[in-house]
């Protein structure tokens, strides 16, 4: 009996030891999302997807926090750093200031900042060439549109969304210089990212004016544009994540910003102890942006459109097509 008991304890001890060492070996990863939250079906959702995939395949322990307001961003990052998380991922340009402050205080902690750049050495800044991806979906929209009236509804009126807009417009005009692009912005405060009813009203008004395709980089507000598309049986172009599945048949394509891939790669590098700081600007060439084609929009994108758009893609890669970048035009416009 006593032998049996001691065997049992030995067994428990070994199991316990094994379990605790495997926990110890797990690298703790902190993921701080912005206001959009993990189910915005868009930008934050993409980051969350990348991180959960990493959790599945790599030996990591993932902790996700959604920030309800901008004031709580910095404390969240600091808590992660204080608790000894070796890698903290901050999603969204609103986190830039918070990351800069906390990264300076914890120079040994690695940070990933998505959608904004900073020079601090322990931060890996990842930005995307949104204008290139937007150019592609703009061209697709112009090829698919029957009315040749094409809509754009931005979230908050900030340079980044203007960058989407300029790329998109150039894509449309590349196919048909006569096409009309209607542009709306939901607001000029951060509430614009979560006002789906306002987005829906704007979308209905554009659809009623004859627009048949709307592209809406506007965070969670974009869901309102999807509702309007469903109601009027018109088309919408998804943004950031592949949103083709959200309302199948209504979503022409999605502009992909491969936040998931970038997040996954950063975590992978951390597990291999080969994390690198610096600024990474991901465009078409780096497969950072793209358009989406899957079973949900296969029937909407004709092979002809697909062929043309892949040709355009190659031309952008060869620099035969130069996609205008709002950031550059903005810099030029600034009086020095």
């Amino acid at each position: 009996m006593s032998k049996y008991l001691s065997l049992k304890f030995l067994f428990l001890f070994v199991v316990g030891l094994f379990y605790s060492t495997s926990l110890l070996a797990q690298i703790k990863i902190g993921l701080a999302l912005d206001k959009g939250g993990r189910d915005d079906k868009s930008f934050n959702a993409a980051a969350f997807k990348g991180a959960t995939e990493a959790q599945k395949n790599l030996n990591i322990q993932l902790k996700t926090v959604e920030s309800s307001d901008d004031i709580s961003l910095e404390p969240t990052l600091r808590t992660f750093a204080q608790k000894g998380y070796p890698l903290v991922i901050a999603v969204g340009f609103v986190q830039k200031d918070a990351v800069e402050k906390v990264a300076k205080q914890f120079p040994k902690t690695h940070f990933v900042l998505i959608d904004a750049t900073t020079e601090i050495p322990n931060v890996r800044s990842i930005v995307f060439k949104e204008h290139e991806g937007s150019f592609l979906v703009g061209a697709i929209a112009a090829m698919a549109s029957k009315s040749q009236k094409i809509g754009f509804i931005g979230g908050m009126d900030i340079p980044m969304i203007r960058r989407f807009q300029l790329g998109y417009e150039s894509g449309v005009k590349h196919i048909n210089p006569q096409a009309l692009v209607l542009t709306n912005y939901i607001g000029s405060s951060s509430d614009a990212w979560r006002n789906p009813t306002k987005a829906k009203e704007l979308a209905l008004s554009q659809y009623n004016k004859g627009v048949d395709i709307i592209f809406s980089p506007s965070g969670a507000s974009g869901l309102g544009v999807f509702d309007a598309a469903e109601q009027t049986q018109k088309w919408v172009v998804g943004c950031d994540s592949n949103q083709n599945w959200v309302k199948p048949g209504q979503v022409l394509t999605s502009m992909l910003k491969k936040v998931d891939v970038a997040v996954y790669q950063a975590i992978e590098l951390e597990t291999k102890s080969s994390f690198q700081g610096g600024i990474f600007d991901l465009g078409l060439a780096e497969s950072g942006v793209d358009y989406s084609l899957d079973e949900f929009n296969r029937s909407l994108l004709t092979p002809e459109i697909e062929k043309k758009i892949n040709a355009i893609k190659i031309n952008i890669l060869n620099h035969k097509i130069i996609v205008p970048d709002f950031y550059l035009t903005m810099k030029k416009a600034k009086p020095s």
Binding site: K35, G37, T183, R194, P196, L202, S205, K209, D227
Partner: protein, 285 residues
């Protein structure tokens, strides 16, 4: 033109419900700045119950939760005699906090509930029609029935009401609960008829705009109704102007978005004169 009109109707509907609810509260002598919070909780309840069952139960849930949220305000102000503004702020904060927590518990994300398919959503014109009949009903009840007169008396002179043997507390409990139920219609309209799901903070200040409309209408139901339509109209006009190719591409977005607020300011300063609130409002017995 028809487009501006229909957009106005859609945008004004939640405002009307909220303003009419606010009318009953304020006229009973309780300052109520928590219209926003009540809209939010009822929008959440409506969307969640509609998602799991059907739109009818969704409406019912929104009404009940709206009434309960407003009853909380009543409990704090009438029973606990808390400062009415502070209680209103508390209810707003409570609503803004509890809705994401419950959303996260049920749907795994704190930002939005699952989307409700088009066929399972509420047919919105029914609610809009209701919103347009409601001010007349409230006008009738307030000025033509005993209950309404007691409500007015409660707001202007609760002492006098007490001497005639009616408990002001009782009148206020009823007024606030009914108001909460009415605002519940506005909440469920927002989340299941106008949008297809609840998203965090989706009311986006509508409760406060409704309150402004109430003051704009000098605490009377029909003028407040007109004010709600006016606010809906300026918002609709702004949306139309923004997307009209002539102005939209040249006009700065921000300038257009100030438009409703600017008109409100101008009108408030210039036209309505002094608005007198119910006499007993904000006073703790």
């Amino acid at each position: 033109m028809i487009e501006i009109l229909s957009s106005t109707l859609r945008l004004a509907t939640p405002l009307i419900f909220a303003a009419m609810g606010g009318f009953l509260c304020e006229r009973s002598g309780i300052a109520t700045i928590c219209l926003e919070g009540v809209l939010l909780t009822s929008a959440w309840a409506g969307a969640t119950v509609t998602y799991y069952t059907n739109p009818y139960l969704g409406v019912l849930a929104a009404i009940i939760v709206g009434a309960m949220t407003m009853a909380l305000h009543a409990l704090l102000t009438v029973k606990a005699k808390a400062d009415q503004i502070i209680s209103g702020v508390a209810v707003n904060l409570f609503a803004a906090g509890i809705t994401p927590i419950l959303t996260k518990l049920l749907f795994g994300s704190s930002t939005n509930t699952e989307s409700i398919p088009l066929h399972a959503r509420l047919y919105s014109p029914v609610l809009t029609l209701l919103a347009f009949l409601l001010p007349f009903l409230i006008h009738f009840v307030t000025y033509r029935t005993g209950w309404g007169l007691r409500l007015l008396a409660c707001g202007d002179g609760p002492e006098a009401l007490k001497t005639s043997g009616v408990s002001p507390a009782k009148v206020r409990y009823w007024a606030l609960s009914i108001a909460g139920a009415i605002i519940g219609f506005g909440g469920v309209y927002l989340s299941t008829a106008h949008a297809s799901q609840f998203t965090r903070d989706m009311t986006a200040g509508r409760g406060f705009i409704a309150l402004t409309a109430l003051i704009f209408g000098k605490w009377r139901p029909l003028p407040a109704f007109i004010a709600c339509l006016f606010f809906g109209f300026t918002d609709a006009l702004q949306i139309q102007l923004q997307s009209s190719p002539l102005l939209g591409n040249t006009f700065p977005v921000q300038a257009l978005q100030i438009f409703p607020y600017l008109i409100t300011l101008l009108v408030l300063v210039g036209f309505i004169g002094s608005a007198k609130p119910p006499l007993a409002i904000g006073k703790v017995e």
